[in-house]
């Protein structure tokens, strides 16, 4: 396979990871807590998409908004169950509560759909694009395209709208935001809804290329976590860059050596990065005044 082909495949994988990582960072910024159920939300998105496709004879692109909407509602439920009761508690409490949510989601999927891999419908059916030896399947193209639309939509929302300003203010200093009259609780709930919606999109897209099983989420959350660390803890743009890097790395190394080696080397690379740059690849704004 040519290098260009590998890079394209890696970008497609990275784009899907970016949606996972972005949702992870949204919740992280809004609450200061790690949402460990983010990967399982992706899995839930995949199953939602597969189940809807079985019930409704619609193309994947038409189902996508329905999946995203349903997942946003699930995000609100997660916020209500796993975050708001634990708001005033140490961040590790939320870490564990979202692990519990993940367990519930995994076993709900197992009971509803069984352990066999499922697949979601393609976003659209068409011939792959070809340039000489390079092929880009329509699904890979769709993943990159939809991820690009969602990521830039997210960036636009945060940077240009009043709602986005309120979200950012809540993320930066919750007490100050509340003092300024921003509905902080609603903003946090919205962050969870957005994160779950992104997870839903990622799930619908990934479940067509790679299938979905009840335990899919575990590997995804680890990739997202790595992407966020590489990109700088809490940085949205960094998370996208980190996710693309992780996707590229995995694809290229898997092609050159093996899939197992790709995973092992990814973690090894992560350890080396942390060894050499304890503050992440792109650094983070930190520091405490005495």
């Amino acid at each position: 396979m040519s290098l260009l082909q590998l890079v394209l495949n890696g970008m497609a994988l990275g784009a899907a990871y970016a949606l996972v990582a972005l949702g992870f960072v949204l919740v992280l910024n809004a609450t200061g807590a790690v949402n460990f159920a983010q990967g399982d939300l992706v899995m839930a998105g995949g199953y939602t998409s597969a189940a809807l496709a079985a019930a409704l004879p619609l193309p994947g692109l038409a189902l996508l908004p329905v999946v995203i909407g349903a997942m946003a509602l699930l995000g609100l439920l997660v916020a209500g169950l796993a975050y708001f009761p634990l708001m005033r508690r140490p961040a590790t409490a939320v870490f564990v509560s979202t692990i519990a949510i993940g367990l519930v989601l995994q076993n709900a999927a197992l009971n509803l759909f069984g352990p066999e891999p499922r697949t979601a419908p393609p976003v659209w059916d068409s011939e792959p694009l070809r340039w000489g030896a390079v092929t880009l399947s329509s699904q890979a193209l769709a993943v990159i395209g939809i991820a690009a639309v969602l990521v830039s939509g997210q960036a636009w929302l945060l940077a240009r709208t009043r709602l986005g300003r309120n979200l950012r203010a809540t993320a930066q200093d919750r007490d100050m935001a509340a003092a300024l009259g921003i509905p902080v609780t609603a903003m946090i709930a919205l962050s969870f809804a957005l994160a779950a919606a992104l997870a839903g999109a990622a799930g619908a897209l990934l479940a067509n290329q790679f299938f979905v099983t009840p335990t899919t989420g575990g590997a995804l959350i680890l990739k997202a976590y790595i992407a966020v660390v590489i990109g700088g803890w809490g940085s949205l743009a960094g998370a996208v860059v980190g996710a693309l890097l992780v996707g590229l790395f995995e694809t290229v190394v898997a092609a050159a050596v093996s899939y197992t080696a790709a995973s092992a080397l990814l973690y090894a690379a992560l350890l080396v990065i942390l060894l050499l740059r304890p503050q992440g690849l792109f650094g983070e704004a930190a520091g405490r005044r005495a």
């Binding site: 790690v34 169950l81 796993a82 009761p85 634990l86 508690r89 140490p90 961040a91 590790t92 409490a93 870490f95 564990v96 509560s97 692990i99 519990a100 949510i101 993940g102 367990l103 519930v104 995994q106 076993n107 709900a108 197992l110 009971n111 575990g218 680890l222 976590y225 790595i226 660390v229 803890w233 197992t260 995973s263 092992a264 973690y267 090894a268 992560l270 350890l271 942390l274 060894l275 304890p278 503050q279 992440g280 930190a286 405490r288 005495a290």
Partner: protein, 594 residues
């Protein structure tokens, strides 16, 4: 990672010790009379988990670091036992120590780079480590049997004498748990446990009494790995099979859940969490396919309902007052034994484009009270931070007497004899002044340490000795009446007293105070002045940053004025306030507040 500190000893309920001893007794009764062979097997498995969680409490509960490698250490211990026991038929007397030593060795190797990482990076690095271990084990199938694992791990056998499964095995596992609990009890109940509480709730407060992060965290990380290795080995003997499942992330998740639900710093919490989450799936078995779903729901409910874990809940339900009477104060001789001249030359510190300190020279003689003034942003706090080691200078020389200080961390500088109070008092909110100052005394006496706590004798007696000394120091600053109050509830007028007492506890040569008089009334200012004079009278130097001129001018022997990172004037208070350069510097921004 911010973790809620343990509630102060004064409000601790039913003693942790009584609780875990009772629990072990109850289990012994159950095992001896009621349990079926299957029940005994589940009991032994719960014991393995209890040992795992006891170890995890060191790094997660006490050191406050979210390690995600505990499952990997557990799996490693299990594999060492399985490979040596099933393949090479080695004896338990050899495999068990090795199962502890291998994870311990791995922890020691990775500890140095990994432990200096900030919270979430530490979590991820340890997670990466666990994933690498899992992949290695799955792929080294010649040794490990790959994904299928190794079968035929023998039960515990020493010199050919096999320990039967059932009651004897369960008893052996729970004896190991009891031994682990006892060891953890020795380390964490006394002043070393308090040191961990300070370290995780406020690292700056810890460095102010000379407590470094590294040693205590290192010991906690290594202990957690050793306990995990032992737990893994015992589980391998109990189950007889070791597969790559023992290294999977779910083991780590279960351990974390047990720790949080049981209680992350109490020994009874480790036992309760392990027992409950081991038996819960058994109790939910009638739900069949939905058992794990219900388990997740139960987990969520317990996290929400029990903030300090079940052990904390039980402790509070049986709350009782402080044990034993307060010891009479033991007079502490303030010897000023480390009195020496502090000399700083050409200290320079740059923050990005801002030159916060621009070649500052400073000399403070023993017994001298030096006032440091200057407009806001002139570099006063930065200078204090540089001298106390919280910020490292870009250039310059610092020495206390003959000893060079440059390049030392805040904890080492505190040990060298420079104590520090903060503009926003750095006091662990849930600790009492008595506990904090007693801890500072113990640290100064070199009594704080993991291994010291394990081997030390008469822990209770020594604790009372340090508390008696702390009461004397707190009396000197007029705080005896409030000594047992949690620092977080002290009004600002009292907080400075704790900071000064803590500083004195280190027997320092120099004490740095940052705006101690801020917000104090006339009478309290007079008390503060008297306290500072008394301290200086013992040959201890004082560097006092202050905006309050009516307080400072009659207190200080000399005054140094900073403006834009430079010393613009120094001398006797009366001379300095008349200095045209000083007046100009203040009038440029604000009036000389005298």
């Amino acid at each position: 990672m911010t973790l809620a500190a343990a509630p102060p000893r004064t409000r601790r309920g039913l003693g942790d010790g009584a609780l875990w001893a009772l629990l072990l007794l109850g289990l012994a009764l159950y095992a001896g009379t009621l349990a079926s062979p299957y029940g005994l097997r589940v009991l032994a498995l719960a014991g393995c988990q209890a040992l795992l969680v006891l170890g995890y409490q060191f790094i997660f509960g006490h050191a406050g670091a979210l390690s995600l490698a505990q499952g990997a250490f557990f799996g490693l211990g299990a594999y060492v036992t399985a490979i040596l026991g099933a393949r090479y038929h080695w004896d338990f007397a050899a495999t068990f120590p090795l199962s502890i030593l291998v994870p311990l060795g791995l922890a020691a190797i990775v500890a140095v780079p990994v432990l200096r990482l900030a919270s979430h990076y530490f979590a991820l690095a340890t997670l990466g480590l666990a994933q690498v271990a899992l992949l290695l084990v799955v792929n080294a199938d010649d040794w490990t049997g790959g994904a299928l694992g190794l079968t035929g791990v023998p039960g515990i056998a020493v010199r050919g004498e096999a320990l039967p499964r059932g009651l004897p095995l369960a008893a052996a596992v729970w004896s190991a748990v009891a031994a682990g609990a006892w060891l953890s009890w020795r380390v964490t109940r006394g002043l070393t446990g308090t040191a961990y509480a300070v370290l995780r709730s406020d690292p700056i407060a810890a460095s102010a009494i000379g407590l470094g992060q590294s040693r205590l965290r290192f010991a906690a990380f290594l202990s957690s790995a050793a306990y995990a290795g032992a737990a893994g080995a015992l589980q391998a003997h109990t189950v007889g099979v070791v597969s790559s499942e023992t290294l999977e992330f779910s083991v780590m998740v279960t351990c974390l859940a047990m720790t949080v639900i049981g209680g992350s710093t109490r020994i009874a919490g480790a036992l309760l969490g392990a027992l409950l989450l081991t038996y819960l799936p058994e109790w939910l078995r009638f739900l069949q396919g939905y058992a794990l779903l219900a388990y997740g729901v139960a987990l969520l409910a317990m996290i929400i309902l029990t903030p300090d874990g079940i052990a904390g809940l039980i402790g509070r339900a049986f709350a009782r007052g402080r044990q034993g009477a307060r010891p009479p104060p033991t007079p502490v001789r303030l010897q000023g034994s480390r009195s020496a001249t502090l000399e700083a030359r050409s200290l320079t510190k740059r923050f990005g484009g801002v030159l916060a300190l621009d070649g500052v020279d400073l000399v403070i003689e023993p017994g001298q009270i030096l006032g440091l003034i200057g407009p806001n942003g002139s570099g006063k706090t930065t200078l204090a931070n540089v001298i106390s080691g919280l910020v490292s200078p870009d250039d310059g020389v610092m020495r206390l007497g003959p000893r060079g200080l440059r390049g030392l961390g805040a904890d080492k500088i505190a040990r060298a004899g420079i104590a520090r109070g903060f503009q926003t008092p750095a006091l662990p909110p849930s600790l009492s002044a008595l506990e904090l100052v007693a801890l500072a005394r113990a640290r100064a006496a070199g009594e704080i340490g993991f291994f010291a706590a394990v081997v030390g004798r008469d822990a209770g007696k020594r604790r009372r000795r340090f508390e008696a000394e702390a009461l004397d120091l707190l009396g000197r600053v007029g705080l005896s009446g409030e000594a047992e109050r949690a620092c977080g509830t002290l009004p600002p007028g009292l907080a400075w007293r704790v900071e000064v007492a803590r500083a004195l506890a280190l027997d320092p040569g120099l004490i740095i105070l940052d705006e101690p008089a801020a917000g104090l009334g006339e009478r309290e200012q007079a008390e503060l002045r008297a306290a500072l004079r008394d301290i200086a009278g013992h040959g201890i130097a004082l560097l006092v940053i202050e905006h309050n001129m009516p307080f400072l001018l009659p207190t200080a022997h000399r005054i140094v004025v900073l403006d834009q990172g430079r010393v613009i004037a120094k001398g006797k208070p009366a001379e300095v306030v008349r200095d045209p350069a000083v007046i100009a510097a203040y009038l440029g921004r604000e009036k000389l507040p005298a």
